[in-house]
């Protein structure tokens, strides 16, 4: 453990060590600065409804709620594609499938269905679609696997037009907002503050769960599959089973994220949910933050969404997309490991020079 000789690192490190003793084994060890970054980000996110209005930036509540949902999707992609190296270019099919399940239930079965029905069925739909894609295609290697997932995305996109009697085609289906009561207290996403927390809290819970998985044996086996699949089977491990498991672990957050996104927009249409751009965006978020790290994709999602929805607006409706993709391209070329990962390792080195471990 650390010797606490640094000026800045010292007190932070001793707090971090308290964390490390209790949770380091489970979620990975942190030094003082990394710990401060995590806790700082968490506080900033939890207190957005307090500080955003004070700074005259109430619009951030909407943007950061949206970023939370995309963070779920980017993490969902990461635990499968980032970790196992079987890169899916069609992951929006999973979240889109969940969103359309909710849409079809509400639009065609009963507009008053509660989330106790729509949420589990939507996640189940994502899971089913994930397995339908994964089971036959995971035998394929490299570009062939990616191509299959990509084409699956194209098929689902066209299906929404082919069945426009049910899906509303281009216009989509209205699903309305989320309303529920906890302990007599009514939660509704009509209220921007409540909506923010309805998106943020699941994101944080999914992050903790996926971090646990990623730092466990299962995450280690996923990475080993990416690096050397033959070696993993030589270890007596059924790689097919674990690759399918990665899809299961991915489909569940994709389903939850798709369901949240449906209610965030209030309408489910092909453009916002199934267009192939959506699959590429969530990959971009994961890669910009730093894939196969879970935390990286969260950072990437917040960065990309804040840029797109806030900062780059000055370039106009299409100009912002051009700028966004250009920036993403620059990150891919100059910081391939991801910005958040770079920051993380920088803090790792800084922290150790300040007297921490490593």
């Amino acid at each position: 453990m650390s010797s606490d000789t640094g000026r800045l690192g010292g007190p932070l490190n001793s707090i971090a060590d308290g964390y490390n003793d209790r949770f380091g084994q489970v979620f990975g060890e942190l030094n003082g600065l990394q710990f401060a970054l995590i806790i700082g980000s968490l506080l900033v996110l939890l207190l957005v409804p307090v500080w955003a209005p004070l700074l005259g930036m109430s619009g951030l509540l909407r943007t950061l709620a949206l970023a939370s949902i995309w963070a779920i999707l980017a993490m969902g992609w990461d635990i499968q594609s980032g970790y196992t190296g079987y890169i899916s270019f069609g992951h929006a099919v999973l979240s889109g499938g969940a969103a359309y399940t909710t849409a079809l239930l509400i639009g065609n079965v009963n507009p008053d269905l509660s989330l106790a029905v729509t949420l589990p069925l939507s996640v189940l739909a994502a899971l089913t679609i994930g397995l339908v894609i994964a089971v036959p295609s995971l035998r394929l290697k490299g570009p062939y696997f990616s191509l299959v997932t990509f084409v699956a995305g194209l098929i689902f996109y066209q299906l929404t037009y082919a069945f426009s009697d049910y899906t509303g085609g281009e216009l989509g289906v209205r699903v309305g907002r989320i309303d529920f009561t906890v302990g007599g207290f009514e939660i509704t996403t009509f209220d921007p503050v409540m909506r923010y927390y309805v998106m943020l809290v699941p994101m944080l819970l999914i992050a903790v769960t996926l971090l646990y998985v990623a730092r466990s044996n299962v995450g280690m086996i996923f990475v080993a599959i990416r690096e050397n699949e033959t070696a993993v089977s030589a270890a007596g491990i059924d790689t097919t089973k674990f690759k399918i498991w990665s899809f299961v672990l991915s489909s569940i957050p994709m389903g939850i994220g798709g369901w949240l996104l449906a209610h965030f927009y209030g309408t489910v249409n092909p453009l916002n949910f199934l267009l192939v751009d959506r699959s590429i965006e969530l990959i971009a978020m994961a890669v910009v933050g730093g894939m196969s790290s879970i935390l990286g994709p969260i950072g990437g999602a917040f960065l990309v969404i804040v840029l797109r929805e806030e900062v780059l607006r000055i370039f106009g409706a299409t100009g912002r997309w051009v700028m966004l993709w250009t920036l993403i391209l620059l990150v891919l070329v100059f910081a391939r490991d991801g910005l958040f990962r770079k920051l993380w390792h920088y803090l790792g080195r800084l922290g150790s020079r300040d007297g921490g471990e490593n």
């Binding site: 690096e227 070696a231 993993v232 030589a234 270890a235 491990i237 498991w245």
Partner: protein, 243 residues
């Protein structure tokens, strides 16, 4: 009854017959040498046994069960482990994690488990690698990378080890040390097939030698018998290698 048995094992790649109607047995506790000039089909025998290649004909039995069509992880779960000719450590993980991977349970719900640090140390110590646990594989000298491959195979707790050219690229001192280690493993009850392209390290080690040439068995016997065998000498005469 023998622990391991090949019955008419045949492997064809298109028109090429890499292994041709090969049969031999290995008893529990034995060390059998499998030799033959380059390209004679030794690695293919191991690849068929480990479920890497689909067998064209014949059968493979291990410990009372037919394992001919088993997948790699099932073969390993049954107690067979192979040290490949090519080392393939995961370069992103240190030595200890490379060994640990080979102890992880084959269960998607086993989030924790596998060998403890102490157990990993023991696996490494069995092959003199215990001082290198924190190092990354690409920092290791050749002989240590080969030791890591053996430590990984041992970590699956095998009853039988298939060793493919374990002495390749090692100097005489390293070969002698490794021979001693294999003797110790035999004392611990591990059965072995050791492939080499010549008799070098096997002369002292092997109880019995099987010689294959163009995929077929051309001789079988004690190391002394094989050293004198005319058919074996002729097979090696055609190749550029010494016996």
């Amino acid at each position: 009854m023998s622990l391991f048995r090949l019955d008419g094992l045949t492997k064809r790649f298109g028109g090429l017959v890499a292994v041709d109607d090969l049969s031999f047995e290995v008893d529990r506790g034995e060390i059998v040498g499998l030799i033959g000039p380059n390209g004679s089909g030794k690695s293919t025998v191991f690849n068929c046994t480990m479920g890497r290649y689909k067998v064209s004909d014949g059968s493979i039995h291990f410990d009372g069960s037919e394992i001919t069509d088993y997948r790699t992880h099932e073969v390993v779960e049954n107690g067979l482990s192979r040290v490949s000719q090519e080392s393939n450590p995961i370069t992103e993980m240190p030595v200890a994690a490379n060994i640990k991977l080979f102890t992880l349970p084959n269960s998607v719900l086993a989030f924790r488990g596998g060998a403890t640090d102490e157990e990993i140390y023991q696996y490494a110590a069995r092959i003199d690698l215990e001082d290198k646990l924190e190092e990354m594989p690409d920092e290791l000298p050749h002989a240590d990378i080969r030791r890591l491959e053996i430590a990984k195979a041992l970590a699956t707790e095998p009853e039988m080890l298939l060793l493919d050219e374990p002495f390749a690229g090692m100097n005489q001192q390293e070969i002698n040390d490794l021979v001693d280690k294999f003797e110790e493993l035999r004392e611990e009850g591990i059965t072995m097939i050791v492939v080499d392209h010549n008799m070098g390290g096997l002369m002292k080690l092997a109880d019995r030698i099987v010689v294959i040439h163009n995929g077929s068995k051309i001789a079988e016997g004690s190391p002394e018998e094989i050293a004198e065998n005319e058919a074996v000498k002729r097979a090696y005469l055609g190749s550029t290698e010494a016996m």
